[in-house]
């Protein structure tokens, strides 16, 4: 039983990483770096609470979170794709903006600089046999866990089996060649960033729904971990999801083993260590899309 409870914790911890990393894989395949995941997630978390608070309906919260993520993505796309500014700088700016904006709204609406009022969380779904698995059942009854699994599979298909994915990837490799074939580089890149925003917003909704509230800075660097997982997963949705599960398992193990005498601090470094090993080429080759981080300027081809 305790093993099943441990697996349940690992799965829960992996959910926000997976959703955000999936989005990152999609937009980075199109050639746009997205370190704004953290800010998108934070905006999404606050939007969930606002939506659920004012409507009393958790699904309105989810819709608001996705919308907030898309809006944050639109800002990133505007700066990086349309205005062709530096993608890292834009991402950092968005994260700082989100940290300040969410705190401002929190203070205005809930008159607290630390946390919001309590709101409804997403209801569990009763899925018969799946829901009655000991230990794990409650996790599989959570709508966003099922959504994350479905979205990863859909994302993998979208990137590697659909026409859209093929075009997006070609734009991430050689935008000038894609443009020559008549593809609108900026349109595809923007769409990639918007999808990423929607998914990161959903990750924020998960954090806020599980907690029934918003806490200032509650994403706690999860956006950056998701980005690292996406790199370890070699810019593929399935790979990213596997890396997120690995990171989530390490975190759950660190939580479980604390106080047992095992030096659990070692496990805390695991995600960073694995990411560096992947980047250094020890875990197969982690090669970024060729045109990543390079703004596409049709004038210069």
């Amino acid at each position: 039983m305790s093993l099943l409870l441990f697996l349940a914790a690992a799965l829960r911890i992996s959910v926000p990483y997976t959703l955000a990393a999936l989005g990152a894989a999609i937009n980075e395949r199109g050639g746009v770096i997205n370190i704004a995941l953290e800010g998108m997630m934070l905006n999404g978390a606050l939007a969930y609470v606002l939506g659920a608070h004012f409507s009393g309906n958790p699904w309105a919260g989810v819709a608001a979170a996705v919308a907030a993520g898309v809006a944050t993505g639109a800002l990133h796309a505007l700066v990086t794709v349309v205005a062709r500014a530096d993608q890292i700088t834009s991402g950092l700016g968005i994260n700082l903006l989100a940290a300040g904006l969410t705190k401002f709204v929190l203070t205005q609406v809930f008159h607290s600089s630390s946390n919001s009022a309590r709101v409804v969380g997403l209801p569990d779904w009763d899925l018969g046999a799946l829901s009655s698995i000991p230990g794990l059942g409650p996790v599989f009854s959570t709508p966003l866990v099922l959504a994350a699994i479905a979205l990863v599979l859909a994302g993998q298909w979208l990137l590697f089996r659909s026409v859209f994915g093929l075009r997006l990837r070609s734009i991430g490799e050689r935008p000038e060649a894609a443009a020559t074939l008549g593809l609108r580089v900026s349109g595809y890149r923007t769409l990639g960033v918007l999808i990423s925003g929607a998914l990161a917003g959903l990750a924020g909704a998960w954090l806020a729904s599980e907690q029934h509230s918003f806490t200032d800075g509650m994403t706690g660097g999860r956006g950056y971990i998701a980005l690292a997982a996406m790199i370890v997963g070699k810019w593929s949705p399935l790979g990213a999801a596997a890396a997120c599960l690995l990171f989530g398992t390490a975190e759950a193990l660190q939580i479980t083993l604390q106080g047992s005498g095992f030096p659990s601090e070692l496990l805390q470094m695991m995600p960073y260590l694995v990411t560096m090993l992947a980047l250094a080429g020890f875990i197969g080759r982690a090669t970024a899309p060729r045109a990543i981080g390079v703004p596409y300027d049709p004038e210069q081809g």
Binding site: L5, L207, T215, G220, E251, I255, G259
Partner: protein, 272 residues
């Protein structure tokens, strides 16, 4: 008397905010939180004509405080000792939990007092101790707090004391989900999860700040380390109409007698 309040963001903001207040003619500048320690120490030396006071100031080894700086410290270990005893007297599983925020000596004081109090009344009691992290964000990660809480309840604890800022809100969520009890910290946290908060270990920050201002006004400024323990009513635990039903009279009496022994100096609660 006039007041000005500045809320700071991260890092360098703290120094800038306090400098602004000190240079702007304030008689006394308060920094609230251990994170202000280094900056307030430097500013106190730079502005010898302004008084400074810092709640939860962390004194570095061998550090000599300037006369215009008051370090307002609380004996959290004493209040934690009492709630530790309370939890150990009330546990049905023989296991209780502790969730700390960032691993620093300040939070270790809560843990040490809690464990000692529990062992004092129930030497067989097991205390499961977990921390959220090693950086400042460990105090505002309720998602991590909930996982830590769930893990401790799953490992058999039925009462968890948290000293972890907003991270503790996650511990309360875990208590709601598992239908178990938790102990709040700093202020009475009953309203965060009614029915699941056994009590709260309160720190009367307001008393320390009030006393400091009163002394300054009265011309009896006291710089250096000022400690607020059970004796000074600087720390305590909540027992009122809302949690009375959870605490039988003999248990209350036992905790009260421990309190008196600490105040009388017969028991010294460990701080590390």
């Amino acid at each position: 008397m006039e007041f000005a309040t500045l809320e700071t963001g991260e890092g360098a903001d703290r120094e800038a905010a306090m400098r602004q207040l000190a240079a702007g003619g304030s008689q006394i500048v308060f920094g609230v939180g251990f994170l202000f320690s280094d900056d307030i120490y430097g500013l106190a030396q730079e502005f010898p004509g302004v008084k400074f006071a810092c709640v939860d100031y962390t004194v570095k080894e061998g550090q000599q405080l300037p006369p215009n700086l008051a370090a307002l410290k609380f004996k959290e270990e004493e209040g934690s000792y009492l709630v530790g005893a309370l939890a150990a007297l009330l546990t049905k599983t023989g296991r209780i939990g502790f969730v700390g925020g960032m691993q620093i000596p300040l939070i270790k004081k809560f843990e040490a007092g809690y464990v000692a109090g529990a062992k004092a009344v129930n030497p067989e009691a097991e205390v499961i101790v977990k921390y959220a992290g090693t950086t400042g964000s460990a105090f505002k990660d309720p998602t991590k707090g909930k996982e830590l809480g769930l893990a401790e309840y799953d490992q058999g604890a039925d009462i968890i004391f948290h000293a972890s800022g907003s991270t503790g809100l996650g511990v309360f969520e875990a208590a709601r989900e598992k239908k178990k009890l938790a102990i709040g910290v700093d202020a009475d946290q009953y309203d965060e999860a009614p029915g699941h908060i056994l009590t709260s270990m309160v720190k009367h920050v307001e008393t320390s700040v009030f006393d400091t201002i009163r002394d300054l006004k009265g011309g009896v400024w006291k710089g250096g380390i000022q400690e607020f323990g059970l004796k000074e009513d600087g720390v305590g635990w909540v027992y009122d109409d809302r949690n009375r039903a959870l605490i039988p009279d003999p248990v209350k009496a036992k905790v009260d007698s421990l309190r008196e022994e600490i105040v009388a100096g017969k028991i010294v609660a460990p701080s590390k």
